[in-house]
Symmetry: C2
Subunit: 496 residues, 2 copies
Amino acid sequence: MNAVLDRPSIDLARQREVVAALAAILPASALLHAREDVQPYECDGLSAYRRLPMVVALPETEDQVQRILKICHRLRVPVVARGAGTGLSGGALPPGDGVLLSLARFMRILEIDPAARTARLQPGVRNLAISEAALQYGLYYAPDPSSQIACSIGGNVAENSGGMHCLKYGLTVHNILRLRAFSIEGELLEIGSGGLDSAGYDLLALMTGSEGLLAVITEVTVKLLPIPQRAQCILAAFDEVVKAGQAVANIIAAGIIPAGLEMMDKITTGAVEPFVKAGYPLDAEAILLCESDGNEAEVAEEIERMKAVMHASGATEVRVSASEAERLRFWAGRKAAFPAAGRVSPDYYCMDGTIPKKALPRVLNAITELSVKYGLRCMNVFHAGDGNLHPLILYDANQPGELERTEQFGAEILKLSIEVGGTITGEHGVGVEKINAMCEQFGTLELAAFHAVKAAFDEHALLNPGKAVPTLHRCAEYGQMHVHGGSEKFRDLPRF
Amino acid sequence: MNAVLDRPSIDLARQREVVAALAAILPASALLHAREDVQPYECDGLSAYRRLPMVVALPETEDQVQRILKICHRLRVPVVARGAGTGLSGGALPPGDGVLLSLARFMRILEIDPAARTARLQPGVRNLAISEAALQYGLYYAPDPSSQIACSIGGNVAENSGGMHCLKYGLTVHNILRLRAFSIEGELLEIGSGGLDSAGYDLLALMTGSEGLLAVITEVTVKLLPIPQRAQCILAAFDEVVKAGQAVANIIAAGIIPAGLEMMDKITTGAVEPFVKAGYPLDAEAILLCESDGNEAEVAEEIERMKAVMHASGATEVRVSASEAERLRFWAGRKAAFPAAGRVSPDYYCMDGTIPKKALPRVLNAITELSVKYGLRCMNVFHAGDGNLHPLILYDANQPGELERTEQFGAEILKLSIEVGGTITGEHGVGVEKINAMCEQFGTLELAAFHAVKAAFDEHALLNPGKAVPTLHRCAEYGQMHVHGGSEKFRDLPRF
């Protein structure tokens, strides 16, 4: 973390060569290379990592994207695609020796088809703008990352983003139908179909969450859903964090699939309440927000069942939103949790491990113990219903050793997530941030399979190099090289 | 169709070599090669295509699977994995010069975890057996292909099977969490996680529906769902097929997601009713079965809304199942539709095109016109809610020219499916049956991407050769070679 990676040895001759080639197809306003012009692109939402790109390209048409890629392929120049730059794992950290390809100018909603319940979008369209445009038809786009005001649908596809509602409505991959994407050779791939399924290998799923390593997306067709008749939210308070974790497991075990099921602990509610005024009970060790949506009758019955489970799980207080305004207030606190961390600590480090729901009490206990062990506070705020943890480790980078302890604490949480059968990332991606943890999660053979897939689309490893999938060499250096019992040999290592 | 592909030029020396190598690791009872012993494996559910395998292997352990694959890889012997053999596109058609690898003996349910709501299964476990075993916990496995009594979960994964309930509950890919699979080199890949998402490229989705071309699956962990409190089914009758199609579009447009939405036309109900006695109105040109499931209140309200849409769409009769027995009777007719086709025609050809739901009326009209054009009757029975058409073209193979006309009729339906933005297969797979249609659906670049993925996992193309993805050479011969406007060059053709 906090690795400021400058472009120390920028090769000016190389920069001139690339700029000259791109200048033939892009106007000057779409081609940046002066230090002060490329500075705004030095990082994404994981601002601890920064690096100045050699060149920034801002195309406006598919034709320009295609030509940029062909030039970069011919000259063997690395290319990193960037959406809104809200990513939290450094997936859009620019290449110091290559082109940052911004898709910010691809902002058009190309078509909304209310009969088919689909929207055809350029990749730079903001997530929330989709639902805003669909509102007139009574429709909306379900995946709702916390950054939905700013983040773009292209980035959502690249990271397979989730959000509060993905427990019931699925991740990005479950809510898209088609993609147009260009390979590094500049070849157009038309992926998916208007039907429920598509023939051939599932390239739609393969591209989704591939973090810009396989192709550059230039169009996304998403599914739209009818806006539910009604939504209502329960706020349940608990005097122990573990009890709240158990309540989550009980809700799921009761066969209820809430529209959202989020947890916040006392540090979090205390940080948020003063400026959001959500009405959270500040003496509770943890609160759950549990939402029901659907038709009137369904919501009424489901809310009763949710209340019963909360009481049976030892909730000290159970409140049901009495109005749409109150429901939105409940959620406003949750949505402000990350920014609020800045009010209680100079720095924080957000984790994204995802675990089987039944392991929640165990993992929450372990995080409490780790917090004592490392002498660092931790805010627990997360998508409880789908086991997607976002512990925020609070630290002060100016205190010697705190950053290192924070990183060790985070690494232990990820190891634990893997140990209980979970994964190191639920929705933020691997990027540069969790690349070492990939060596923990996967064995040599799975990593080799990832590299083989990468080579199938990008044999020279020009698209977003150094992200998402570690080299076997890196894992060996990191001291992790899993070999499954059943295997006797390794595949040839890919050369990148 | 009806292509009986014998093993005309079986290489006896080669057969001896392969049998000798496999005999070192398999008991005699697990290794078949005499003509009469391998005969039962000559085809799957697409019995028009038959071919005798050179060798049949019946392993019982992962270790044996691994060794078989290593031997086949070393000797460069093709391998076709087979589950229950119920596939409808010839995906398990054996190799005349290779090993049919039956997973029929992998029949154990390894674990049911009611807290995590998962089941860990060997691939030969029957689809219905999963729900039977989960019943004691109030859970079930949602995807329910018509063949669920017989078909196996491994085959379901290989084909990404659907079923009556996949409109609401998703395809196989949406209902599995983890796979254990062996590459052709005999390397174990552990894919997926117990969390909602997994890091790295989505190999879980890539394997699902890959029709045995990428790896051999030896274990599947599926998600289980709570059995709904209640289910109720509407039977709606229409005096025109197109009106029934419009009613489907209207249900979806009203924001209702039924648990099942199936259509049968008059020929189908007439064929089924005499022996199922479902109580279908035989004067109706088409009927819809529309199911609601969930909690009591939700079902009651949803059924009312469904009834209103059916009436508004011009239904001549709307009946609601008054008991669980009646609900099951409604469905019994639907489930018997395929076998019933045998009562009204010597032969039938089942299609599987999937289209956007809004195109239903147009496509149904076109099928009626094509039926007249080719002078062949067609039973329309299908998963209407997800646009997955199963027209059954009725023909008599003994009448000169009928088979050819049937194939042309079918090809026109698939072309039309592609034209309206759909796809050539919803749930039955491509196999050998629809391999030419793949040339219609995909351009050269998409096919090249498929081949690159294949080569990443199986560079010598030993796993299920000749299935699912046509060579570019084949498409050129078939007279279809799409080239997208945006592309100037092709990738190198793979050598298989």
